[in-house]
Amino acid sequence: MIVPLEHILIFGALLFAIGIYGTLVRRNIVGILISIELILNAVNVNLIAFSRTAILDPVMGQVFVIFVITLAATAATVGLAIVLALYRIRRTIYADEINLLKW
């Protein structure tokens, strides 16, 4: 390992926290979606770091990362399709202006 495991884990935690911050604070739905991509990347960083240091076969962690990347791409596709449909109907992409289910 070039870098000790702890530093990579701290990097992953910081990336995760930044992603959560964006998810909580952004009003734009596209912004929320790209913050979610940041969160999934932080998870992938941890998986790769552990696959390199744990006694387990490194193939296992990498296969998990491939699955996570695939599901993240699917989530982004469906999410952006929902954003487009919502924009066509409601003419807004701000999360707090979409209050159909609030009363």
Binding site: R26, V30, L33, V63, A73, T74
Partner: protein, 166 residues
């Protein structure tokens, strides 16, 4: 020895740059700039994968995230035009509580990371080739592989159905 120090310095600077880019993702008022920052963060993570000897994953990251997902995001940004307006506030009023709680979270997690004795084995440095990964995907992990392909088809059809004009 000097090469090793140089490698260390470059990895740390890549980590710092991708964190700065990630901060740009959540802080830039313009969503288009945020998406461009996301490209920087994703490329930084891909470089970290290369440093951890996961070359195939790094290539997948570049192709899928920087290539496909970013194209999709930028299309979505361009199709919803009201965003060009800079006077609309881009953050809601929860930034201070979110910042405080996340600072506590990262502090706790970081101290735990530094205190824990990780059962670190001898580091695997041999690269995992695409051949080995493909054999694992179609051998040991063939069931989740098939499930993921079903999910991909479902997501594809769902996206087309949701986004098409009636």
């Amino acid at each position: 020895m000097t090469l090793e120090i140089f490698a260390k310095i470059s990895v740390y600077s890549v980590l710092a740059l991708s964190l700065v880019a990630a901060l740009g993702v959540v802080l830039f008022p313009s969503i288009f700039h945020a998406a461009l920052c996301l490209v920087g963060a994703l490329v930084g993570v891909a470089i970290l994968y290369i440093a951890l000897h996961a070359e195939f994953i790094a290539v997948v990251q570049i192709l899928l995230y920087v290539g496909a997902v970013m194209t999709l995001v930028i299309f979505a940004i361009m199709l919803t035009h009201r965003i060009g307006d800079q006077t609309i506030p881009q953050a809601n009023k929860q930034s201070l509580p979110a910042l405080l709680s996340l600072a506590c979270f990262v502090g706790l997690l970081g101290s735990l990371f530094l205190k824990t004795k990780w059962p670190v084995g001898p580091a695997h440095t041999e690269p995992v080739s695409a051949f080995v990964l493909g054999k694992a995907l179609l051998g040991e992990y063939v069931f989740p592989f098939e499930v993921v392909s079903v999910i991909l088809i479902a997501g594809l059809i769902g996206a087309v159905v949701i986004a098409r004009k009636d």
